[in-house]
Symmetry: C2
């Protein structure tokens, strides 16, 4: 069966690029959610046929798992890169939340955060998928924690509050903004970020 490397393998070659297809599928799942995204929507976006999809990915659910995993790994890298680009973790946080206040495409506001959406859709419905999304969000929290600790040491982050709680606070802020961006102007979102960041300053 499928999922093999292309070299030294008998049989017809795959005609589509898996990464490109996963990227297209991500867009569909992200904008529509898991349930509302139909196989027809997905196949049209991925520009492949049913046979190719089931042969390569297994099922709609398996495709979603691949998409979710790939999305998270990218997010993890982006986030870490943003923290590493600044000496002060506060600036890293600002840069991360710039995705929310000033997204590349204005349409991104309606999409929100893919992990938050998935947790919201699946919690109480499909605990396996909910747990997957929840654990990835908790990994985001541990990234916050790492750089907050560094900032506390350097006197850039207040040391009166525990880094653990401040990390949870940042994730809660992210969760909130993932919803609030669907209702507020850029100015309000920016004001909201700066106001809340006060809680991290020494």
């Amino acid at each position: 069966m499928g999922h093999q490397s292309i070299d030294k393998m008998a049989g017809r070659h795959r005609e589509f690029d898996v990464e490109t297809a996963l990227s297209a599928a991500t867009e569909v799942f992200w904008t529509q959610g898991y349930d509302s995204a139909s196989m027809e929507d997905l196949l049209t976006a991925m520009n492949i046929n049913k046979g190719s999809m089931y042969n390569t990915f297994g099922s709609k659910r398996d495709l979603f798992l691949r998409v979710l995993d790939r999305f998270f790994k990218n997010a993890q890298h982006d986030m870490t890169a943003k923290f590493e680009a600044f000496d002060n973790p506060l600036d890293g946080v600002r840069e991360i939340f710039r995705q929310v206040t000033r997204p590349a495409d204005v349409k991104d506001h309606a999409k929100g955060c893919f992990l938050v959406n998935t947790l919201g859709e699946m919690c109480g419905m499909d605990e396996e998928l909910a747990t997957l999304a929840r654990n990835k969000l908790l990994e985001v929290e541990t990234i916050y924690l790492k750089y907050l600790r560094k900032g506390v040491k350097n006197g850039q982050i207040r040391k009166e509050a525990s880094p653990e709680l401040m990390a949870k606070f940042l994730l809660n802020m992210w969760n909130g903004m993932s919803i609030s961006r669907r209702m507020y102007s850029r100015k309000s979102l920016e004001d909201l970020v700066e106001m809340q960041l006060q809680l991290l300053k020494p």
Copy 2:
């Protein structure tokens, strides 16, 4: 056709209580979301037949509109009552967020906030329903604003920040906690509330 008062009306009487049925439908829509809630799920919970439902409410969508409206009016009353029960608006806010940190039923954590869920599910998919949920959340914001202003006058709320921004902040906090309650312990949620409430204190 239907929707009439019971007195002075020819024809068979309705055998079910509309409020009870709406309450049951609310539970289904709240836990499953609009799309995932099937007519079968709804009819089972409401304990009525298809004909009765379509005769009384019109369609799945119309039923949802009734449910959403009824839910919001109840929430509006509860919220106002909680603010009115305390002299200090900070205590009103604490009482409102107690729904999140200490819900009547632990299962409520998975349900989150019905308005937040609806905005999340519908934004980018069904703008009419999204706008409905968004506007109701914005009405929640104006309730916060009213009592924050009162608190500023009484010296209970800090006057350095604008009440408008603080109201947005509270709604953002609500949005965030509606997601975060699906991943954090009661203790963490309570710490999160108290930490963030610092931003409102004089």
